[in-house]
């Protein structure tokens, strides 16, 4: 629905990457770092985000509270961007979207688990420290189960006051269906009850 009302701006990485890789552009493309030899920075991408979310100045009621969804930041590490550059990008976007435009940001990062991906760990830790809400999905510790696909941990954080209050946390388990996900409390799967 947001797409129909013109409220959705979608940058599709796969399509844009083919475009920028095979054809040279004069003005910097948001995914310009794909053409660069060394670890580039994400400034063109940030410029694209800022342009897209700039409020329209033609007198109509501007869009309020934009939401920036990034899927997914770990992929940028695979494409040669350093973890620090990604954190810089997140910082710039946060300053623009959250503070200036009073919006929200949602980013997705993969946890490498035991794969010992140091860059990914740097990114994950850096983001965890500056996030207000962390949603962590993981598989069950006992392995594969047909009825419970995994569990979701929700952690509320207050980055500004690190020691003021205890962070609230909740855990749910879920089962994925074709187009939706059903959540239930631990041990309360419909298959067991």
């Amino acid at each position: 629905m947001a797409r129909e009302r013109g409220q959705l701006v979608f940058l599709e990485g796969l399509k844009a990457s083919v475009d920028v890789f095979f054809h040279a552009h004069e003005e910097p493309h948001p995914l310009q770092f794909l053409r660069e030899a060394n670890a580039g920075n994400l400034q063109p991408l940030f410029e694209f985000v800022r342009e897209a979310l700039k409020p329209v100045e033609n007198g109509e009621a501007a869009w309020r509270c934009p939401v920036l969804l990034v899927d997914d930041l770990s992929l940028l590490l695979s494409l040669g961007v350093g973890a620090v550059a990604v954190l810089d990008f997140v910082h710039y976007c946060r300053a623009t979207v959250c503070w200036e435009l009073k919006g929200n940001m949602v980013v997705l990062v993969h946890d490498s688990g035991d794969a010992e991906d140091e860059e990914n760990d740097i990114l994950l830790n850096g983001l965890s420290h500056q996030s207000h809400l962390i949603l962590r999905t993981e598989g069950l510790a006992t392995g594969f189960c047909r009825d419970v696909h995994g569990q979701l941990r929700i952690l509320w954080r207050r980055p500004s006051q690190p020691t003021a209050q205890r962070d609230r946390s909740l855990t749910y388990q879920y089962k994925i269906q074709d187009k939706s996900v059903s959540f239930f409390a631990k041990g309360m799967s419909p298959a067991v009850l």
């Binding site: 794909l34 996900v181 067991v192």
Partner: protein, 463 residues
């Protein structure tokens, strides 16, 4: 992993925002086949391509991998526009076989092939493809030919024309070569790295290895020239392009991730996979890649490569390992691990319940079967059902204390069948400890009068 969006949409009217680059589609995956659940209203656009069928699960167009057993495990086949990554086995014996099955399936169905290799000339690879097994209709026609033209006995198995069958997957005889006429009748493009790399090619330096850049440009050229992505106004292609890349990531491609742990160009392979997947998503093609992941020193790269591929299948052969002498595996040649299946256009993927799959290669058939613990089968009749037993796995295929243990036990107990499982290390049989009835799942009487009468769960033995 899921990301939950906190929506703060404003109530303002739709502004006319000009975005720098945006696509009108929500997903990069366009539905190419008809929805199987829908009625016959409207002619399906691309159903006329030979060798494809729509998926019953999500409507994607599928092609066969050349192995009907693998097709079944992947949810019907390989979706058009996706990458199938085969993690090679240690001595690279069985992964070329899967590679050749894929290409042979393309020839049988009349698809265009693109074969890329740094080690072998693609023409030689095509000569070594396995011969398809004839089904009865074709055999009958051949018998008539033999009668009429009196061809000698030795030519009976040769085909006189292309196999025109409407089946989705075919079986191949690994001991015979594909007939020469079929190769000559097919359309294929070869990319042999030593030939291509000698010519000079002016390209901006980016962190991709030279070989990868050339291969990407070659693939993109073929896709555009032959119209597989629909952007060429002259050429309207209604065929599938099957791309096969052999030993990607090996040192022969100029990449050093298999040689050292901290390499200079550690992003070369991952960037290649990303751009390749971008090319595939917008064209009628399917790609198989074999990669020697057991040689990659940096484990993080393997995880990234897995995330960047759609379907990942790992092969582990028993040659040279201690499993070769394990009586459990005496019929099989190796294990096959389905590591990842993509979620296309829906949230759930077609995961099967069985996780321990082994393959065996007979001359005509490459079969994949679930490996059962032999102890279980033998002693099912020794320990009568309905009793409680001490459960311990002995000499099983998995390591001690692994996750597979607990899931196997839990899933086993959850079954509604009556027999109980093993295994007691003591010599004499145990005395019966329970009442003989194992309560499988809580029934309606659980909440009969507002109080819990029995605890739910698998091992709740009623008093």
């Amino acid at each position: 992993m899921a990301a939950v969006a906190t929506c703060g949409t404003g109530a303002g009217s739709a502004g006319s925002m000009a975005a720098a680059t945006s696509s009108s589609d929500v997903t990069s995956f366009q539905r190419k086949g008809p929805r199987a659940s829908g009625t016959d209203s409207g002619v399906p656009r691309l159903v006329s391509i030979a060798g494809t069928r729509p998926s019953v699960r999500n409507g994607q167009l599928l092609v066969s991998t050349g192995l009907p057993a693998l097709d079944q495990l992947l949810g019907g086949g390989l979706a058009v526009g996706t990458v199938l990554l085969i993690e090679e086995d240690k001595y690279n014996i069985y992964s070329p076989l899967l590679f050749k099955y894929f290409l042979a399936e393309g020839i049988i169905n009349g698809h265009t092939l693109l074969v890329a290799s740094a080690k072998e000339d693609p023409a030689d690879i095509l000569q070594e493809l396995p011969a398809p097994l004839l089904d009865d209709n074709c055999k009958k026609e051949l018998d008539e030919d033999v009668y009429n033209h009196k061809t000698p006995e030795s030519n009976i198995k040769m085909q006189v024309g292309p196999v025109s069958s409407s089946r989705f997957g075919h079986y191949y005889d690994a001991s015979k070569r594909i007939p020469q006429e079929l190769i000559e009748a097919s359309k294929w493009h070869g990319f042999f790295l030593p030939e291509k790399i000698s010519s000079t090619f002016k390209v901006e330096p980016c962190s991709l290895t030279h070989g990868y850049i050339k291969l990407l440009h070659f693939i993109q050229n073929i896709i555009y020239e032959e119209g597989f992505d629909g952007s060429n106004p002259q050429k309207k292609q209604k065929n599938i392009l099957r791309i096969g890349i052999q030993n990607l990531g090996s040192p022969l491609w100029g990449d050093d991730i298999c040689c050292t742990e901290n390499c200079d160009n550690s992003h070369s392979l991952t960037k290649f996979l990303y751009v390749l997947r971008g090319l595939l998503r917008t064209s009628l093609s399917a790609c198989i890649i074999t990669m020697p992941t057991h040689l990659i020193q940096n484990k993080a790269i393997i995880a990234r490569v897995t995330n960047l591929s759609d379907t990942v299948v790992g092969l582990e052969s028993f040659i040279g390992s201690e499993r070769e002498t394990n009586p459990l595996y005496k019929d099989y040649h190796g294990l096959i691990h389905i590591r990842q299946i993509p979620r296309l256009n829906n949230l759930i993927c077609d995961e099967s319940d069985v996780k321990d799959l082994a393959f065996k290669l007979k001359r005509k058939l490459f079969t994949i079967e679930w490996v059962q613990d032999n102890y279980l089968r033998q002693e099912r009749n020794i320990y009568p059902p309905g009793f409680s037993y001490l459960l311990k796995q002995k000499d099983s295929a998995w390591g001690e204390g692994s996750l597979q243990h607990s899931t196997f036990l839990m899933s086993f107990l959850a079954k509604a069948t009556a027999f109980a499982s093993r295994l007691v290390r003591h010599g004499e049989p145990l005395k019966q400890t329970g009442s003989g009835r194992i309560h499988q799942a809580a029934g309606p009487r659980l909440w009969h009068d507002g109080r819990r009468q029995e605890a739910p769960g698998f091992l709740g033995i009623p008093p």
